[in-house]
């Protein structure tokens, strides 16, 4: 029977009936087969050739898997963070600007952006098939008039923001799909979505690995932290890690404690991922169990 090996397919004969295992039989004689096929004539050739073969296979796989992707993923993560900040501040600018023309609109942010991109001036809104109430507001508005040039700019502005949002989503999808390669342990502990957010807020795996867990705990709550420091209001208990189900599903009283604990575990796994990259399934199980136990103690 035919059997596949690194030096090609070999024909293995099974003597002694079906209870014999073909694979085990073949593997007992790999070196003999290799010698017969003329590939590794001397005993030490076998190991040398096999080693070369396995090294190049491993190298190819490392490249494919991660090494070359790593930089690209890190770039996508930092771009995602900056893009998020930029679109937020730009869309505030746009809404303020448009607010002078149509202060009564008062829709949610995304809807407003949509209306601006699609129609622009109140005049066009009145001619549109939009909701009666909006049309009425547009007719009675006290806002200043828009020139044609201004309208054109605002519409383009709004479309650009929408596109930046779409780019952000696309980046997020890419990062989530590939992040396991750079954070195998962290991703399996809290999921790729949250890891992507943490990395984008911290500026990458290296930064996260060097960050004290008290800071990880409030990553994404910078505004609240600033208020705490400048005005003495209570400090935030958690930042983006609030999105972890263990925290947002539990009672308010224990959230702070859980957040602290979760952040400490995230810090450890970020360091494992950054410094060694070894896969630590045992630690992950242990951490998950501990968090579960604490959740129950509510």
């Amino acid at each position: 029977m035919r059997y596949e090996t690194w030096f090609g397919n070999i024909e293995v004969e099974l003597e002694g009936g079906e209870d014999k295992d073909l694979g085990r039989e073949a593997r007992r004689h790999y070196r003999d087969y290799a010698r017969e096929t003329g590939i590794a004539v001397k005993e030490k050739d076998y190991i040398e050739l096999l080693k070369e073969e396995c090294i190049s296979l491993a190298k190819a796989k490392i490249k494919l898997k991660a090494e070359e992707r790593e930089k690209s993923i890190e770039r996508a993560i930092t771009t995602m963070g900056e893009l998020g900040d930029a679109t937020n501040s730009l869309s505030e600018k746009l809404l303020d600007w448009y607010g002078e023309h149509f202060p009564e609109l008062r829709l949610r942010r995304e809807e407003t952006l949509e209306v601006i991109a699609k129609y622009g001036s109140r005049k066009r809104i009145i001619e549109s098939g939009l909701d009666e109430k909006i049309i009425k507001k547009a007719k009675e508005s006290d806002g200043i008039e828009l020139s044609g040039e201004e309208e054109k700019i605002l519409r383009r502005f709004s479309k650009s923001i929408k596109e930046m949002r779409e780019l952000e989503d696309e980046l997020e999808g890419y990062v989530e799909g590939n992040i396991e390669a750079i954070t195998p342990n962290l991703s399996s502990f809290i999921g790729p979505t949250l890891v992507a957010k943490l990395l984008s807020l911290s500026g990458g795996l290296k930064n996260l690995a060097f960050m004290p867990s008290s800071k990880i705990q409030v990553l994404g709550a910078e505004k609240a932290l600033f208020k705490h420091l400048s005005r003495g209001v209570p400090p935030p208990k958690h930042g983006v890690i609030f999105q972890h189900p263990a925290i947002h599903n539990s009672k308010r009283e224990i959230r702070g404690k859980l957040a602290r604990d979760l952040a400490a575990k995230i810090a450890i796994l970020a360091r494992v991922d950054y410094f060694s990259g070894e896969s630590r399934g045992d630690l992950i199980e242990e951490f998950k169990d501990e968090i579960k136990k604490k959740e129950k103690h509510k």
Partner: protein, 178 residues
Amino acid sequence: MRWNPQTSKFAAFLIKKDIDLRSNTKMLYLGAASGSTASHLSKILADGVIYAVEFSWKPMRKLVELSKGEKNIIPLFFDANRPEEYTPYVEMVDFIYQDIAQKNQVEIANKNAEIFLARGGVLLLMLKTRSIDAVEETKKIASAEIKRLDEKFNIIDVLKLDPFYKDHVAILANYDHP
């Protein structure tokens, strides 16, 4: 570099138990990481070979570099859960050393032995036992895990690795499979 029992479970094991590692031993090493233990073993098994399996790319990158300088370490970038993927590269071995901290560690050992471990071969399994609760738990987990080992294994010894590793137990077993 000295072989340090603080950083290598194999070294810690050798301090506790004297085993006969012949220089022509063929070894399958599951969970070789970046190869610090493998590099010491490669000197002991000077006429043998070490098939070193590791599936995380960062340690594997180092293992590849190491193996270039050692004539008998074969780096295998594979998941030990799927031994059928590396059968083309690995011959029958007389020793399986496994140091993989995963939940299904015993299952991995069983699968790989079934495929690669010759009759009369030896398994040395570094069993991770959880240590969050008490010492008592370590014992319980160890014996539960040992029960899950394939019945073709005869247990030779079960050793604690303290004081070097408090949450690991070493299992030495013999394989009886034609």
